[in-house]
C-alpha cells in the first residue's frame, strides 16, 4: 500500500484507476462470455448468439474475449493476491455470516451500535465473501482457459488424445456454472445490497464512515500510515 489513499474531505480511495479499469475489463468481458456461453449451453438460448452478431461470429469472438478475461483475471491476481489471502480473522468472520446475509449488522439495530465494534469481527480490505469470489474467479478462470483452449483448437487434438476433449467438455460448463454463481452473487451484493459498492468501483472513492463500517481494519491501515507520517 505505498500510494496514499487518503483524500480530501472525509474520503478515501477504495480502488485506484488501474484496479477499476481491470475490474471492468474482466466484468464486461465476462458478461459477453456469459451471454454467448449461455447461447452455446442451451438451445433455448441460442437466439442470444444470433442477436449478438450470429452463431459464427459469437463462436469466433467467444475464445478471443475469453483471452481478454483471462488476462484481466491474471492481472487482478498479481494486483490483489496479498489482500486476498484468507486469514484467521476470516475464519472468525465465518461465525457472523448468517447475520451478515440477513443484513443484521449494527446499523439495523441501533441499540447494539455501542457494542458493535466488539461484537462484529473486523474486516480488512476484503471480507471473506469477496475473497471467495476472487479465488473462484481466478481458479475458475484458469479452468475455463485450459478447457477452453482444448475446445477452441479441438480439430488439432489427435484421436489418441481425445480424452482431453471429453474432460474439457465437462470442465468448461462446470467452471462456467461456478463462476456464474459467483458473478450473480457479486453483482447482486455490489449493486443492490451494499449501497456505495457500485460507485466505489466506478469513481473509486468512498467515505471514511463507509470504510469504517464495512472494512475497518483496512481504513485503520491506510490512515494509520498517514498518521505515522504526520
Amino acid at each position: 500500500m505505498q500510494e496514499n489513499r487518503v483524500l480530501r474531505g472525509n474520503r478515501v480511495l477504495r480502488y485506484n484507476f488501474h484496479e477499476r479499469v481491470i475490474h471492468w475489463c474482466a466484468g464486461l468481458s465476462y458478461v459477453y462470455l456469459m451471454l454467448t456461453g449461455l447461447a452455446f449451453w442451451s438451445p433455448w438460448l441460442f437466439w442470444i448468439a444470433v442477436v449478438l452478431g450470429g452463431g459464427l461470429a459469437s463462436r469466433m469472438l467467444h475464445p478471443l474475449v475469453g483471452l481478454i478475461f483471462t488476462a484481466s483475471v491474471i492481472d487482478m491476481y498479481f494486483m490483489w493476491k496479498r489482500d486476498m489471502r484468507i486469514t484467521d480473522l476470516d475464519r472468525q468472520w465465518t461465525k457472523t455470516i448468517g447475520a451478515y446475509v440477513r443484513n443484521e449488522e449494527e446499523e439495523q439495530i441501533p441499540e447494539l451500535a455501542v457494542r458493535a465494534w466488539q461484537k462484529w469481527a473486523p474486516v480488512d480490505r476484503f471480507n471473506l465473501g469477496q475473497k471467495y469470489l476472487f479465488w473462484v474467479m481466478f481458479w475458475g478462470g484458469i479452468a475455463l482457459l485450459l478447457s477452453g483452449l482444448v475446445l477452441w483448437f479441438t480439430e488439432y487434438i489427435p484421436w489418441s488424445f481425445r480424452f482431453l476433449r471429453y474432460i474439457s467438455v465437462l470442465v468448461h460448463p462446470i467452471a462456467f456454472l461456478v463462476t456464474l454463481g459467483g458473478f450473480i452473487i457479486h453483482v447482486y451484493m455490489g449493486t443492490a445490497v451494499v449501497r456505495g459498492g457500485f460507485t466505489s468501483v466506478i469513481r473509486g472513492e468512498v467515505s471514511k464512515t463507509w470504510a469504517r463500517h464495512h472494512h475497518r481494519l483496512w481504513l485503520e491501515r491506510i490512515t494509520g500510515q498517514d498518521a505515522a507520517r504526520k
Partner: protein, 294 residues
C-alpha cells in the same frame, strides 16, 4: 409444412419439438459394406470425389496403399488397409471402406449447439447443414468414429452425406454404383441386415471364418452403414473400428443431466437473489456515506 421439413426427424441444438418427428413412413436406408469381397480398388473413393466435386488435396507416400491417414473435410470416403497376420501365421490384407456411419443415435447431433446445423432425415441419413454450422467442433468430440472434419478456412465441418441428394431421387449412392466387385449394397436396413447375416453365415459355413459376423453397433442404436467382417470379434483390426462405440459419456452427461441441473441452478440463483432482496433488503449504514458526505 413442406415435404422437405417433414422429412427431418432430428435437429441439433433445437429448442422445442421437431415438426417432422414420426411423420413419415419411410424406412431406414442402409449401406452394406462386405469387407470380405473388397479388393481395395478405390473406385468408391473416386466416385465420392467426383459426385461431390470435392477439390483435390496433397498426399504423400506413407508405406501403405492407403490414400491418406484419415478422412478430410474434402475426402469423405477412405479405404483403410491393414496387413494382419493371424495366429496360424497366415496373412490377411484387410480393407475397410471408412466413412460416416450414419448412426441412429448420432453423437455429432447430440453434441452440436447450433440450431439446425446437423439434421437426421426420416430415412436415417445424418446430414450437416453447413449454413447453420458455427464451426465449434463439438461434433468432432461427439463422434465415436472420428469422422467430422473441419475446413480450416471456412470453419465448417464436412462428412459423407450417404449421397442424400441421389437417394432422395431414388438412386443409390455414388460409391455403391461404382463398386466393381459388388461388395457394396444399398437398400433398406432390414434387407441389408438380411443380406449381411446371410453372407456371414456363408463365410462361417463354407470359408472357415468361424467368427464372421455383421458390425451394426447397438451402442449408437445401430448404424446406417453396416459391415460384414471376417472376424466380428476383432473389429479394431479393420482400421481401428471401435468395438463397442457409443456417444462419449462426458457428452451424454453434459447434454442431459448437467443441462437440467445447471438450468435449475441458474434460474434458482437469479430467483434466489430477488427473493433475498424482498426479504432482507439492502444494508444501511446510518450516516449514508456512499456519496462521501458526513
Amino acid at each position: 409444412m413442406s415435404q422437405a421439413t417433414l422429412r427431418i426427424q432430428k435437429i441439433s441444438g433445437h429448442a422445442g419439438s421437431v415438426p417432422g418427428e414420426d411423420t413419415q413412413r419411410e424406412s431406414q436406408v442402409c449401406k452394406l459394406v462386405d469387407t470380405t469381397t473388397c479388393i481395395g480398388c478405390k473406385a468408391c473413393e473416386v466416385a465420392c470425389m467426383e459426385w461431390n466435386d470435392l477439390p483435390f488435396g496433397e498426399t504423400v507416400f506413407d508405406n501403405s496403399y492407403q490414400t491418406m491417414p484419415e478422412t478430410r473435410w474434402n475426402y469423405w470416403n477412405l479405404i483403410l488397409f491393414n496387413e494382419h497376420v493371424r495366429e496360424d501365421g497366415s496373412l490377411m490384407w484387410l480393407m475397410r471402406k471408412n466413412q460416416c456411419m450414419h448412426c441412429a443415435e448420432p453423437g455429432c447431433l447430440e453434441a452440436c449447439p447450433a440450431d439446425g446445423a446437423i439434421v437426421q432425415y426420416s430415412n436415417g441419413i445424418v446430414d450437416f447443414q453447413q449454413d447453420h454450422c458455427i464451426g465449434c467442433g463439438y461434433c468432432i468430440t461427439g463422434c465415436p468414429f472420428d469422422i467430422p472434419k473441419l475446413n480450416p478456412k471456412t470453419k465448417r465441418v464436412h462428412k459423407c452425406t450417404l449421397c442424400t441428394d441421389r437417394v432422395s431421387e431414388g438412386l443409390e449412392p455414388a460409391c455403391i454404383k461404382s463398386c466393381p466387385t459388388g461388395c457394396l449394397h444399398f437398400g433398406t436396413k432390414e434387407d441389408m441386415k438380411y443380406l449381411a447375416e446371410h453372407r456371414a453365415k456363408q463365410l462361417k459355413d463354407h470359408s472357415g471364418y468361424v467368427n464372421a459376423g455383421v458390425y451394426d453397433p447397438p451402442g449408437v442404436g445401430g448404424t446406417g452403414v453396416i459391415y460384414v467382417l471376417h472376424d466380428a470379434t476383432k473389429p479394431e483390426l479393420y482400421g481401428g473400428l471401435p468395438k463397442n462405440p457409443s456417444i462419449p459419456l462426458s457428452v451424454k452427461l453434459w447434454k442431459q443431466p448437467m443441462k437440467w441441473i445447471g438450468n435449475i441452478l441458474i434460474i434458482g440463483g437469479i430467483v434466489g437473489t430477488f427473493v433475498h432482496y424482498l426479504r432482507y433488503g439492502p444494508k444501511i449504514v446510518p450516516e449514508d456515506s456512499a456519496k462521501g458526505d458526513s
